[in-house]
């Protein structure tokens, strides 16, 4: 039995091409806007000397981690090591990419999560989409991002956004759905409006779960930011790629170490946020 091949590839190709052709101006606006966010964050991070930034993160770790001194010292030492390895600027670029894509992912993802928790219909529509976003190999996002936005930080950020957003949506949805029925009844029985119910009962009770989603989101962002070096996003990932191309084991390892340090620090800080208090 010979059936003609369904031209899925051709179809996607045409669609992407058409979007590029007709909506190019719109994509440019988005691109400029995103670029502004990224360079905003990176400008801030670069403006201060490494010592100040390291100190800032150490304090952040100290206060979010219930005054955990070890964590603060470790954070400070980690940043100093990055500076010592002469990876500071690359690290800050990576960090600003992570922060800006996480920021956007949360701004979009958390409200979407709330909506999916409230509407079973939306949940059923969004669920396969989220599955698709998470199971599709991350490299695949690079191609349309590349076509729409060219080379550079912005397509990297878009790919990262798509990859990192699902857990924020899922866990927000889960957190709100898991709020015990009795607590929802309390909100209603005492005469709360739907918004009061959301902000005074559901979101606070769901907060630990939502923060777990934030943590996931940051971790996925970081991993994707590294991969998006393949389409020209700058930062530590680019250095790793460079190391691979030149078979420079030492350079690759150093950059990889920088990524690990940033990952661990961000993970601890956000984990403490989700468990704390």
């Amino acid at each position: 039995m010979i059936l003609p091949k369904i031209p899925v590839g051709d179809f996607v190709e045409t669609a992407v091409f058409r979007v590029e052709l007709h909506l190019g101006w719109f994509l440019d606006i988005i691109s400029n806007f995103l670029d502004l966010i990224i360079s905003g964050f990176s400008d801030i991070l670069m403006y201060f000397p490494p010592f100040v930034i390291a100190l800032f993160f150490a304090f952040l770790a100290y206060f979010t981690g219930n005054k955990n001194l070890k964590l603060a010292v470790g954070t400070f030492a980690g940043f100093l090591l990055i500076e010592n390895l002469e990876l500071w600027e690359l690290s800050m670029e990576t960090l600003s990419l992570v922060i800006s894509s996480t920021f956007l992912a949360l701004v979009i993802g958390i409200p979407l999560g709330i909506l999916t928790a409230k509407s079973d219909l939306l949940f059923h529509i969004l669920k396969p989409l989220l599955d698709l976003m998470q199971t599709m190999p991350s490299f695949v996002y690079l191609i349309p991002a590349l076509i729409f936005f060219g080379l550079g930080n912005v397509p990297g950020m878009i790919a990262t956004l798509v990859f990192a957003m699902p857990p924020a949506i899922r866990l927000t949805n889960l957190g709100i759905r898991q709020v015990p029925l009795e607590l929802k009844e309390v909100a209603d029985a005492f005469g709360s409006t739907p918004l009061q119910k959301l902000f005074k009962v559901e979101l606070p009770v769901a907060l630990p779960t939502i923060m777990a989603g934030v943590n996931q989101c940051i971790m996925l962002s970081l991993s994707m930011v590294v991969i998006s070096a393949m389409i020209g996003a700058r930062g530590l990932g680019y250095q790793v790629l460079f190391g691979i191309q030149r078979v420079d084991i030492g350079m690759g390892f150093e950059a990889g170490l920088g990524i690990v340090i940033i990952a661990v620090i961000l993970d601890r800080i956000t984990q403490n946020l989700s468990q704390g208090k």
Binding site: E182, E185, V186, A189, F190, G191, P204, V205
Partner: protein, 451 residues
């Protein structure tokens, strides 16, 4: 007491399913719950429920799990929408209210206490209690002062800044109660409020609820699966089965006149010693001797009635002075002493004391126990035989006793000491059908047994 209807439930039905109207019409045709489930795959949650709750009353909705009692309670404030019927609160039908009106009614008239406390874990005790006021937009200062008042009412003063996780179960439910009280609602809906507490704490909380009810006079609708709890708390009880109300009545009516075999099986295991009070088992205090009479009169009366002890009272209002023992009277006659000098003090019992508290007292006593009201007036006496009679009472025994009791009921003739005053067919009916039955616990503060 004048009875104002606070809440009225008329023909309320609740169907869980996709096509409730069909199930309702089948219900009206008289099909049973299981038949309807077979035909439509829909569950009948409530089947034509009707009752009224009076102002200031504790109305207990009781039944086993799955009987629809929690569903019914949630229909009252529309946490669950009833499928059909009317629910009138102060004459207004809550089922027809708009979202805005409903919110207003919930905020001002209906407080709710939940089985598993349902406290907000991210808030302190104070902020939990103030929740209802907060969402009404009441300024911080006022809502905190009102919340503090409610916290004090439930006896948690000093804990207002504690975190919820630091509290024990009993304290959590006090917070839950305070939260409901802070709004100053007319009606308290309590959903198995004490079921999650361990037995001792549960019993304490029940007592406190009754004491609270005496002070604030709320209308309370209390859901419970525990018959003892229902009998203890309820002014009236609605017994539910399969979404229907089987019987509504006072605790004594439920116990003594069960509407059908289901109710009588239900109440078969009840500990009657917790339901009956001194008042409902006491006998008429006869004979009595006045404090002004001499020992000879006392001896004469004791001989006449064949008893070994007699109570001494003063004046027309029968103020209890004490008890005379026959041997003391005989001695007094020989030594020509006055009556007053041989009166013994007796522990007295308030009319509301439950039977189970009386049992140990009477077991240790050499003479009947006097039931005395708060003014010191002797209302009646309790002898060992009547206590046993009330405990052993079946329906037949009740009829016999209330028919007049021509013979001393379950009297142990050998126990001469206790056989006084149960003679001449004037024993009081064992069951007190009057509507104002004192409940155990209500008077627990007044319980002062002088031994």
């Amino acid at each position: 007491m004048e009875k104002n209807t606070k809440l009225e439930v008329r023909n309320v039905n609740k169907i869980f399913g996709r096509n409730p109207q069909r199930a309702i019409s089948l219900l009206n045709k008289g099909l049973s719950k299981s038949e309807i489930f077979e035909k439509t795959k829909q569950t009948v949650g409530l089947n034509n429920v009707n009752f009224e709750v009076n102002e200031g009353e504790i109305f207990v909705i009781m039944g086993l799990s799955g009987s629809g009692k929690s569903t019914l309670l949630r229909c009252l404030n529309r946490l669950i929408e009833p499928t059909a019927g009317e629910i009138l609160i102060d004459g207004k039908d809550i089922t027809k209210m708009s979202a805005e009106e409903l919110r207003y009614t919930r905020r001002t008239k209906l407080g709710m206490v939940f089985q598993n406390f349902a406290l907000l874990p991210h808030r302190t005790v104070l902020d939990n209690v103030a929740y209802g006021l907060e969402i009404q937009g009441i300024p911080k200062k006022e809502r905190y002062s009102r919340a503090l008042e409610a916290i004090e009412t439930v006896g948690l003063k000093g804990y207002e800044n504690s975190r919820i996780t630091q509290l024990s179960g009993g304290m959590k439910q006090r917070v839950g109660l305070a939260r409901a009280l802070a709004n100053e609602p007319d009606i308290l809906l309590m959903d198995e409020a004490f079921s999650a507490l361990d037995p001792l704490i549960r019993s304490d909380m029940q007592d406190e609820l009754l004491a609270l009810e005496d002070r604030v006079q709320k209308t309370i609708i209390f859901v419970s699966h525990d018959l003892d709890e229902a009998l203890k708390l309820g002014d009236r009880i609605a017994l539910m089965k399969d979404g229907e109300v089987v019987q509504i009545g006072t605790p004594e009516e439920i116990l003594t006149e069960p509407a059908d075999s289901y109710v009588s099986r239900f109440v078969a295991g009840v500990d009657r010693s917790k339901i009956f009070t001194a008042e409902s088992v006491m006998k008429r205090p006869e004979p009595l001797v006045s404090i002004n009479s001499g020992p000879r009169v006392a001896l004469q009366l004791m001989k006449e009635y064949g008893i070994s002890s007699i109570f001494v009272v003063e004046g027309k209002s029968r103020l209890l002075k004490g008890v005379l023992m026959i041997k003391d009277v005989v001695e007094a006659l020989k030594s020509k002493r006055k009556l007053e000098s041989i009166i013994r003090e007796v522990p007295s019992i308030p009319p509301g004391m439950p039977l189970y508290e009386i049992i140990p007292l009477i077991a240790d006593s050499d003479y009947p126990l006097p039931v005395v009201d708060e003014k010191g007036k002797l209302k009646g006496i309790i002898i060992r035989g009547t206590v046993l009679g009330a405990l052993a009472m079946s329906e037949d025994a009740t009829e016999e006793a209330s028919a007049g009791g021509d013979e001393p009921v379950q009297e142990d003739k050998n126990e001469e000491i206790f056989s006084n005053s149960c003679q001449q067919g004037n024993s009081m009916p064992v069951i007190n059908h009057s509507s104002e039955v004192e409940k155990p616990g209500k008077t627990s503060e007044a319980m002062e047994v002088k031994i």
